[in-house]
């Protein structure tokens, strides 16, 4: 039987899928997360429904978490961070630190699944006033409200009559330095738009966009559905300023289809904030000497043909650690990383025989 465990850093969707995959293959894993709960961003940020199935995020994550918690091959360490690493895989000595002290563990390979963090709208080039206006909120704020089963105008507590989403906040921007597209915000915003229209049939919902990124089945399951069934207004043109007139916030943009500047009062504005490499990702890259690619995420070798292997032998990466990823990406790369991490250990052990 194999002795050396795989270290899985990060207990979000990718990390959970990796840990389960490793266990299914009969290998041990140590699953580490700095929070006091498993589930990663979907739980941390209180995601309401998964895109596009509309299934409860908490339910879906609970299912995944349950599968690893009952598994004897998965050693779960919450409130724990990775502080240092010595040696080369398959003989790595990793120092784990938690509130009670530190411990050095020997591991055979690593799966880094430290995910992403949400973009802070205060860094945005456009003037969105997130820190000035109560009624300007983010996708995460909206998600939290929807999870609680309601959607209100923050300043008044009343049901809003007019709500809009602004896409690409913190993404696709040379001035901020985040050149990439964050992949999921178009899907999430459209999903939330449907949820809001469902909750508040009298509320008009707008989505201000540059391009609607509707890959694969999102096209009809989300986009067409939102337009045709729920009459969500998709307006091509991004907002540059949000100011306040009296008690109402006003968004200023161009309706590029009509070719005219527009200024519209809104009860709630939802900023579709993008993804950035998380602090955890940056830390792990330093500790394990993993090179980053040009956007600041962990680099994988082999481009499209190898989505989980890093330049450092025996260190793999999964989920949004390597770039913007949706849930399907995270699950898929979690599984792929599990397979490769175990294969690496098996190969090393066969060689020593």
């Amino acid at each position: 039987m194999p002795n050396l465990p795989v270290l899985v850093i990060g207990g979000g969707p990718a990390g959970l899928e990796a840990a389960k995959g490793i266990a299914d293959l009969g290998y041990n894993s140590i699953l580490v997360d700095k929070a006091d709960f498993l589930g990663g961003n979907p739980i941390f940020a209180d995601y309401a429904a998964i895109t596009p199935d509309m299934r409860s995020a908490e339910e879906a994550m609970d299912e995944m978490i349950a599968k690893v918690m009952v598994n004897p091959l998965v050693d779960i360490r919450l409130n724990t961070t990775v502080a240092a690493s010595e040696g080369d895989a398959p003989n790595l000595n990793v120092k784990l630190v938690n509130g009670k002290g530190e411990e050095t563990v020997g591991v055979g390979s690593v799966v880094v699944a430290t995910g992403f963090q949400h973009f802070d709208p205060g860094k945005e080039t456009q003037m969105y006033g997130y820190y000035e206006f109560d009624d300007v909120i983010t996708l995460v704020d909206a998600e939290r409200m929807l999870k609680g089963g309601n959607f209100i105008q923050p300043s008044t507590g009343e049901k809003p009559k007019q709500v809009c989403f602004i896409q690409c906040v913190g993404s696709r921007d040379r001035q901020i330095g985040n050149f990439w597209c964050s992949k999921v915000c178009c899907g999430i915003a459209t999903k939330e738009a449907i949820e809001i229209r469902h909750l508040l049939p009298d509320c008009r919902v707008f989505v201000f966009y540059i391009d609607m990124r509707m890959y694969g089945f999102w096209e009809d399951e989300l986009y067409w559905k939102a337009q045709e069934e729920y009459k969500v207004n998709f307006i091509r043109g991004i907002v540059t300023e949000i100011t306040k007139r009296g008690d109402t916030v006003v968004v200023k943009g161009e309706d590029t289809t009509m070719g005219r500047p527009m200024e519209v009062p809104m009860d709630v504005v939802i900023l579709s904030i993008g993804m950035e490499p998380s602090e955890g990702t940056k830390e792990m890259a330093k500790i394990f000497h993993i090179p980053l690619e040009s956007h600041g995420f962990i680099e994988t070798i082999g481009g499209a043909l190898n989505t989980v292997e890093t330049k450092v032998s025996g260190i793999f990466a999964a989920g949004a650690t390597t770039g913007p990823a949706d849930l399907e990406d995270s699950i898929s790369t979690g599984g792929s990383a599990a397979m490769k991490a175990c294969a690496f250990i098996r190969k090393a052990e066969l060689q020593t025989v």
């Binding site: 080039t125 456009q126 690409c168 696709r172 921007d173 040379r174 001035q175 901020i176 540059i210 391009d211 091509r236 043109g237 991004i238 907002v239 540059t240 300023e241 200023k252 943009g253 161009e254 309706d255 590029t256 070719g259 500047p261 527009m262």
Partner: protein, 239 residues
């Protein structure tokens, strides 16, 4: 051939349009003002001219990005002079600068003496004369009711009391009615040298020959007074 059936200036040879386009692209500033455009409309949203004129900085960025020579020529002759050069469009997430693209396009139009440029600058040439010959513009004696009838009765008051009211301004350098402030002769001399050394004087000839001639005379005179020959100053911007 333009992709549009109703394109204007179809009678102007394509090579001529292309040459002008090339000149815009070869400007030193081009690389830092034009990247690519994904038509987000932020520039139009922020633009004051877009609300008043049939003008769109987004159209400029798109056309220049597409390298659509025919439409470029249309813009060069029609709406390029509507821009108010406020640079609100620099909010562009691709880091394009439509205002600066327009500055460069206007320079090319001026350098080639396009009649649309001449027309746009017709009423403006005496301002050019003032700034180039004295180093400052907006003189107190410009505040005449027939030049600014819409600015209000204070203009009339100023013009009627100009001499005294001007002497009633404490800073010594501002005791003049012909200039904003008193510019020294030495400084004007240096300014004239700069105009010659950068080919700026010759640019004026393209849009207003009359102003150019007067300007050249004034410059020549001052340079001569100080022992310089105006022809000794070659354009250092030309390789």
């Amino acid at each position: 051939m333009s992709i549009y059936k109703d394109a204007k200036y179809q009678d102007v040879p394509y090579e001529k349009k292309q040459k002008l386009f090339q000149e815009v692209k070869e400007d030193m500033r081009w690389e830092s003002v034009m990247y690519g455009c994904y038509e987000c409309g932020i520039c139009v949203a922020a633009c004051p001219s877009a609300r008043f004129y049939d003008f769109s900085p987004r159209v400029f960025a798109q056309v220049m990005g597409r390298e659509d020579i025919d439409t470029f020529y249309e813009l060069l002759n029609d709406s390029v002079w509507d821009c108010s050069q406020c640079f609100s469009c620099t909010r562009c997430p691709r880091q394009n600068n439509p205002g600066a693209i327009i500055t460069i396009m206007r320079e090319v139009a001026v350098n080639h003496g396009l009649s649309s440029a001449k027309k746009a600058l017709q009423a403006y040439s005496r301002i050019i004369y003032k700034i180039m010959s004295t180093g400052t513009q907006v003189a107190p004696d410009m505040l005449q009711p027939d030049f600014f009838p819409d600015w209000g009765p204070d203009v009339k008051d100023v013009s009627e009391n100009l001499d005294v009211w001007r002497r009633a301004v404490p800073p010594e350098t501002m005791h003049t009615t012909e200039l904003a402030w008193d510019v020294s002769e030495k400084t004007r001399l240096e300014l004239y040298m700069i105009w010659k050394l950068t080919g700026n004087l010759e640019m004026i000839e393209n849009i207003d020959e009359g102003i150019f001639m007067i300007l050249e005379e004034v410059m020549e005179e001052l340079l001569e007074e100080h022992g310089y020959d105006i022809d000794d100053f070659e354009n250092v911007l030309e390789d």
